[in-house]
Subunit: 407 residues, 4 copies
Amino acid sequence: MDFEYTPKVQELQARVQRFMTDHVIPADAEWQRIAEAGGYPLAVVEPLKERAKAEGLWNMFLPGLHDDEPGTRLTNLEYAPLAEIMGRIPWASEVFNCNAPDTGNMEALHIFATPEQRRDWLMPLMNGKIRSCVAMTEPDTSSSDPTNLQTRIRREGDSYVINGRKWFITGAAHPNASVFLVMGLAEERMDNAAHDRHSIVLVPFNTPGVTIVRNIPIMGHHSPDGHCEILFRDVRVPATNLLGQEGAAFALMQARLGPGRIHHCMRTIGQCELALELMCDRAMERMTFGKHLSDYANIQDWIAESRIEIDQARLLVLRAAWAMDKYGNKAARTDVSAIKVMAGRLQTRVLDRAIQVFGAGGLTPDFPLAYLWTWGRALRFIDGPDEVHLRTVARTELKKRKDAKRT
Amino acid sequence: MDFEYTPKVQELQARVQRFMTDHVIPADAEWQRIAEAGGYPLAVVEPLKERAKAEGLWNMFLPGLHDDEPGTRLTNLEYAPLAEIMGRIPWASEVFNCNAPDTGNMEALHIFATPEQRRDWLMPLMNGKIRSCVAMTEPDTSSSDPTNLQTRIRREGDSYVINGRKWFITGAAHPNASVFLVMGLAEERMDNAAHDRHSIVLVPFNTPGVTIVRNIPIMGHHSPDGHCEILFRDVRVPATNLLGQEGAAFALMQARLGPGRIHHCMRTIGQCELALELMCDRAMERMTFGKHLSDYANIQDWIAESRIEIDQARLLVLRAAWAMDKYGNKAARTDVSAIKVMAGRLQTRVLDRAIQVFGAGGLTPDFPLAYLWTWGRALRFIDGPDEVHLRTVARTELKKRKDAKRT
Amino acid sequence: MDFEYTPKVQELQARVQRFMTDHVIPADAEWQRIAEAGGYPLAVVEPLKERAKAEGLWNMFLPGLHDDEPGTRLTNLEYAPLAEIMGRIPWASEVFNCNAPDTGNMEALHIFATPEQRRDWLMPLMNGKIRSCVAMTEPDTSSSDPTNLQTRIRREGDSYVINGRKWFITGAAHPNASVFLVMGLAEERMDNAAHDRHSIVLVPFNTPGVTIVRNIPIMGHHSPDGHCEILFRDVRVPATNLLGQEGAAFALMQARLGPGRIHHCMRTIGQCELALELMCDRAMERMTFGKHLSDYANIQDWIAESRIEIDQARLLVLRAAWAMDKYGNKAARTDVSAIKVMAGRLQTRVLDRAIQVFGAGGLTPDFPLAYLWTWGRALRFIDGPDEVHLRTVARTELKKRKDAKRT
Amino acid sequence: MDFEYTPKVQELQARVQRFMTDHVIPADAEWQRIAEAGGYPLAVVEPLKERAKAEGLWNMFLPGLHDDEPGTRLTNLEYAPLAEIMGRIPWASEVFNCNAPDTGNMEALHIFATPEQRRDWLMPLMNGKIRSCVAMTEPDTSSSDPTNLQTRIRREGDSYVINGRKWFITGAAHPNASVFLVMGLAEERMDNAAHDRHSIVLVPFNTPGVTIVRNIPIMGHHSPDGHCEILFRDVRVPATNLLGQEGAAFALMQARLGPGRIHHCMRTIGQCELALELMCDRAMERMTFGKHLSDYANIQDWIAESRIEIDQARLLVLRAAWAMDKYGNKAARTDVSAIKVMAGRLQTRVLDRAIQVFGAGGLTPDFPLAYLWTWGRALRFIDGPDEVHLRTVARTELKKRKDAKRT
């Protein structure tokens, strides 16, 4: 057992941190300005992408290796502390081609794509030329139990025809967004078991019948690349756009979700560290009744509790990353459920304290706190609500006891 | 001791509820449509105001009586349950001329205005012809300790000259907003004790030197009537615009704040009841793993805890209203601090549960939950952050014990 | 609506408080000394009972009136604030013949007893000559769902024969304990619906086959009058000892439980007030790092939060008492579930804070805090665990919504 | 970074676990029987000690090495997981000579003892022949700020004379207890800085003037080896009994406290694991309303939250142990404060849930839950109350930010 990052990781941390300090943070104000004006700040992001690619800080999230795929491949445990650093600026991951949901989509394509799909979608994604979306969540189905998803995928000759409504489709407002991974009920497999009835097909953005209904604000905050509502009406794609097997959507999703949750959680850690720093700084600047806020015992308690909770959280996420590397995504499934629950709660709790230290200013867009709180709240739903993950953790625990008593 | 509303109150509840059902709720969609398009929905509100005034549901918040002031006067205890009903629609109070901060401003003018000030400002406010703002909060001063407020009010001959920056000035984006009550440091009183150094002057919106810098979103939500940042630069008003005495701002504010906090808290209760209703309805509609959400024990716990907390909250607020009626605003000061702390915490807690029951939908503007959560979070700052009110309650308690031991 | 105690109640509060100050509190040290030595302090209690009876502070808990029953009868709302005062000393209620479970038993007998049962059991109880127990809880049955209770009551000729094991039988170690109300499955009614299968029979302590197995400590604390485990083995009593009807145990229990829960909750309020007083006093005495604990913001927060929570709690309990008086025990059933959940949580929360202010001293028997915490924890099970009461509150709330939508 | 225990640790875990399973757990009932009867179960413990020593499972807690000191020395990181296993039975650590406060005392003597002190006290302790106590805590001094400790140590010729009252002196009721490390104000150093005024002297139990006043129950639970109140009245020991230097008590204490806190925290983890196991088993056995408790979503949430919290806690403690090994006790001081706060809170939270799953049975001595809860509550004071450790963590964090901004 060893709690030190390896020299390789420490060196990468230093390089990513330097890139953030030298290039990303200085560009943040311009990014925000364009985003607030309603545009997408490609002019800011694209040159930075070129620079990151040139420096070899590119596609670091993808374990495994095909020779033709560009980028520096790291294990989950090596990549996690870099995600923490990138997480401090919400748009930074894109600069390193490490942003959700493209990371997960690249992982899925990396494993399941046909040669043509690799050529058409995976390689442009890995080169940062296009962006992609996962169209899974539906307004009328609880995400706790996605076997109820109702979008239909019907085979008609050499085509699939898709009908359904999706929402919270991250990235769909990005100007480079080009393809959806649409998950839906395979009409030919409706007699299968609940987890073997859904397929995933690749649907280009410009396919007739695809309508982006709106970009949904989350707790009042608009994302410039979008969490969109999408209507698929008689959308027809070639049968070769099927990803993997018919009815295999859940197996496929499982493959792509584990690492993505590690990334989300480590970005949360980074955002909580940022909030803690801001909270400390503000507490040392601001005075009431002749004392600095940092001299009040209640505010000291908030700072200390935040530090303790963040440190615990990071360790739990790193251990899950390590377990995933060592034992595989499936074996680490309960660990991943655990960190998912823990991270959203952590982020809302730490951010809530930071906001309270800032006073009303904490509610304004003048500081990143209101947005980061929002994102923490959303994390309690993204990739499944807390309740479904708690259920997974509990069932694993109960099963462990049942097995222990049997022996 | 009696926990039944009087017949008079029950009859008023029924009338206000009927007005809401018949006139306000049906207009809500149109109000929201105009507000989202960036306008202020005067076309919706003004006819409803005429109707409410005609029905005698007007200015109900103002205890006491001058014969010439229009409206139906109620005690705080009588008015509180009506504020609960109005609170369910964020813009409804304006229809009854019972909206913040005008209510508090009318109370202050009702007590302290000169005959000219009554004529120029109080009567138009009571008739719903204009709206008003309180310019108190400043970006660089913690609201916990407003004796640090730094805006300057300097006497020059027959004028006062005002310089300073204010923010979170509620109502300043309303098209009818006409006058600020500006609180600032009276330069001639700077040697006074900390609570006797500030004055309030009436500043018309169109006075040269007044700039509305921006309408600040709160946790991502824009209010159509605004929480604005305002710059006062060499703003000059006649000396007759002083409200009350020089250096008497805190005494004056105290008079206006108590009832306003009761109103805020009762609107919170109404909003929490609404959230609880929505949570129950959603839980009975939505299914996961073959069961309705309302059949899960954790969700039942959230519903029950919300019911218990709301009922406790309402009783505490009503008792504070009763104490204010019976013993006066000053005697009820600690009670009011107690309800202020309790209400913001309640609203974020109940809304958080409701959002979780709604799933990701709870984060969207499709339901009022995200906005209401935001408002609950803001309540933990509005009229003073939790910490200053907890301090007040603790000091009262400690003093009580000290006095008890002395005797 | 009125939050003032009536003059009648205020006068009774003063009298009970004076009795506590003059007679009970001075006797507490002696009571504790005898109890710690393992005896039951009858020598302390009996003379105080005579005095209380003489002063007319006797049996105040029993609403309704039979001319021959001794004592001063009050409504639940009138009695509740007196229970708060008595609750501050754990043994004080007995002095006024207002202690559990005798109060509930007297209520049940008052309603359901035959003339012989009145003579043999009710009158001695009302005169304070004997004490009684309810034998309901069983070790192998969750109290959440008492329809599973398994003790058997079998009719044999003119007798009932009882077999079963009970535990947490409060009062069974009291030297004057004379009779059990035993609840069990009526063997002749086993085909009835789940709530119509159990009977209650009166079993004198000295009946052959009754064994007091042990006095169970609760979280390490021994109660001198006991929470006992009792074995009933072929216990035979005359058929005339049936209380009420066969199979009517649940209806009968419901009648006795409502007011008893009000009493428990009001005693909790009294104990929380005591803890808050002690916490304030200690905080003003004790110093760390050159400051009194009462000057630290975190400790001020605990004091303020305790004050707010206690005040809310008292109001909720008083409202439940009022509802019970006005609308009957059955109508107030959900209100009573609500206060039960709220009270146990309140008591552990407030006591936990008080203990923390006391430092390690708070863990010792030198102060009442450790015992009172224990009792608060037990309250989360006594008369049903929190979970069953939360379920009741939630189901009522859901039903209310269902009914609202139907109309 | 690696989250796997080393093969050496895994092998030790297996050996300690086997010893527990084969020898300690089977003896627990007899140990409890003797303890409840008021004796100390030496007859149970001593043979097990011989066996553990023979198996080389002895003194494993002590890093560093003198050739003449018996036992197997491990690093803190190696020892911690063994403490977790031993912690499941409250008396097991003594079997391995790894019990508090002897472990800390041996560490202090190991570093600071003179050759005579080594011979007289350290070697008998390391051989398990005697036991020792730390006499630090005083009833009239908050442990938050031990510079206020008032026991006096006065030099008189070749002696020290000690006067003072101590309490919560763990182990003082053990039949083998032989020596106190008494911390007190060095009368000759009273002009020193606050942290340089206290000395530690070794005081044999049989020294005239030492009175064991009582064994204080903690939250109602008596410890058979005691948390005692001790009076030192004109207690005279040779000047050679001074441990280390005059005025150096705090430096000395710091050396002994760090590892001891790791041990406490890891035992907490073991106790929480035990509680979680019991909670799961009970939830799978017990039924209400026709379902197992383990099928209720609220109870599943408690299980899952406990699992997540325990896993986080273990990682944080192990990291602190690793930091202590790698960077020294002083550098790890804030880490140790963090785990101390975290552990007590964890233990009360997990045990509270377990108790609630057990129903009223959870309050009884029939299960270890009530005792373990008690101990968790006491942990929030042992080795300093939470508040002082939170303060330490906060101050470190604030200093880190101050330093970061300076550069």
